[in-house]
């Protein structure tokens, strides 16, 4: 499990029911592509976040399957339309088996 992994999530300050809201997420991860060769000539094994899942009260917002073509510190921005107050949960799945999670409660005005 990688150390020092930080997640960051940005939601709009005010949310009204039925509004389309933009969610921005970031996780610190080196996203080693598996294509690079180390100074000794050995391939550096792949180590990436291969899946990202965002749900709202258990229902999927987006489910991303991620390849090594996504840059270091993967950033994702997407839209959600929510019917009322609830909790967003975010999960990043690492190649090494670790799952990093975060959640954000949203109170609809």
């Amino acid at each position: 499990m990688a150390t020092g992994v930080k997640t960051r999530i940005k939601l709009p300050r005010e949310v009204r029911a039925g509004d389309m809201i933009t969610i921005k997420t970031l996780i610190t991860h080196r996203m080693e592509s598996g294509q690079r060769i180390d100074p000794v000539g050995m391939p550096i094994p792949r180590s990436i976040i291969h899946r990202f899942l965002c749900t709202f009260d258990g229902e999927t917002v987006v489910d991303l399957e991620i390849g090594p073509g996504v840059s270091t510190n993967p950033f994702f921005e997407f839209e959600a339309t929510i019917p009322g107050s609830g909790v967003f949960t975010f999960a990043w799945f690492d190649d090494d088996g670790a799952i990093y999670t975060d959640s954000k409660a949203v109170v609809v005005a």
Binding site: Q35, I37, V62, D63, G67, E79
Partner: protein, 145 residues
């Protein structure tokens, strides 16, 4: 957890063993590299016809740094979007499935581009058909993808 003298010996012995049995490059790299663009498209479209549609790919025309290129893909009504970089060693970059809580079939990220290429986006529509969008991008410094 503290590592005692015995633990340290075992770790260093393990490290030596790893060095003594080098993995060949192709063992690790073979599977992702073996897929051709046709394979990638066929795996996604699953036999459905592909036509040009309302898929938009937003990319800079010139990407100075191939290590991080901002990209937005959008296809109204789509249930699933696949972003492909045919000029990268591993072509599929991102596959997005939109659930019932998604607001729009749209996702932005930052991607690596190994060379100048036409970025391809495939979108699965609710009726099962596939729409595609293409966007050429010039890459100044290629990002090892």
């Amino acid at each position: 957890m503290s590592i005692g003298r015995r633990g340290a010996m075992q770790v260093s012995l393990g490290a030596l063993l790893c060095l003594a049995t080098p993995l060949r490059a192709q063992d690790i790299l073979a599977p992702p590299n073996s897929a051709t663009l046709e394979d990638v498209i066929a795996a996604f479209s699953d036999g459905s016809s592909i036509r040009d549609g309302s898929v938009t790919v937003t990319l800079p025309e010139i990407a100075e740094d191939g290590y991080r290129v901002s990209v937005q893909v959008a296809a109204p009504e789509a249930t699933e979007i696949l972003l492909v970089a045919p000029g990268n060693p591993v072509m599929p970059v991102l596959r997005a499935k939109f659930g019932p809580m998604a607001g729009a079939a749209r996702v932005s990220t930052r991607m690596r581009l190994a060379q100048t290429q036409d970025v391809l986006v495939l979108a699965r529509m609710p009726d099962g058909s596939i729409q595609k969008g293409l966007k050429p991008v010039s890459v100044i410094v290629g990002g090892c993808a």
